[in-house]
């Protein structure tokens, strides 16, 4: 059965800190791994990763995939209070399966 495990479950940091969120997976017929940000409404898309070792970057956020070890990380540098959200990892195989999410709270 397809499975996605995220860690940590929650995290509290101060503005300016760098955070690393983890996602490990087991999936049949892997197509891609996706990261979403959710702030009290529908998830918004951040990244789609399909190949190992290629970093995707958008401003202060970056992500990378390791298909051999079956995990991905999402890095956020110089965190801001607006980064406070739930970060969801999902794997697209025969269906799209989500992890439980990491709750990030950034304190000013």
């Amino acid at each position: 059965e397809d499975k996605v495990v995220q860690s940590p479950l929650s995290l509290v940091v101060h503005e300016g800190d760098t955070v690393t969120l983890n996602c490990s997976y087991e999936v049949t017929n892997f197509r891609s791994l996706l990261w979403y940000k959710q702030e009290k409404k529908a998830p918004t898309f951040l990244f789609m990763l399909t190949s190992s070792g290629i970093e995707k970057k958008s401003g202060r956020l970056s992500s990378i995939l390791d298909k051999k070890e079956l995990f991905s990380i999402l890095n956020i540098t110089a965190t801001q209070t607006g980064d406070s959200a739930v970060y969801l990892c999902a794997v697209d195989g025969n269906k799209l399966v989500f992890g439980a999410g990491t709750i990030l709270r950034v304190k000013s």
Binding site: Q6, S32, L34, A42, P43, F45, D92, K95, L96, V97
Partner: protein, 115 residues
């Protein structure tokens, strides 16, 4: 640019009542999904569909039914509502191509309370 549209946005049901959550997409996507999200939790897959006429169970299908008679619509039916079905429900869709799919696009969610 409608994308994925869910109705209603909010609903209160009494125990034992039934209802249908509507979901429609105008992007000609093949794949559609229904998720539920309980407070502080991730998204749990209820049912999904890879094309018109094809549906399959996800992780938590009990108490729900779906149909996919057209590419655009993927309604979720709750029969005999129970308090355990109190949750926020999200519908999503993606193109469904191989080898690389698109990301999933989400509706705005339906907040359902069963009392």
């Amino acid at each position: 640019n409608a994308g994925v549209t869910q109705t209603p946005k909010f609903r209160i049901l009494k125990i034992g009542q039934s209802m249908t959550l509507q979901c429609t997409q105008d992007m000609n996507h093949n794949y559609m999904y229904w998720y539920r999200q309980d407070p502080g939790m991730g998204l749990k897959l209820i049912y999904y569909s890879v094309g018109a006429g094809i549906t399959d169970k996800g992780e938590v299908p009990n108490g729900y039914n779906v149909s996919r008679s057209t590419t655009e619509d993927f309604p979720l039916r709750l029969e005999l509502a129970a308090p355990s079905q109190t949750s926020v429900y999200f519908c999503a869709s993606s193109l469904g191509r191989r080898p690389m799919n698109t990301e999933a696009f989400f509706g705005q969610g339906t907040r359902l309370t069963v009392v």
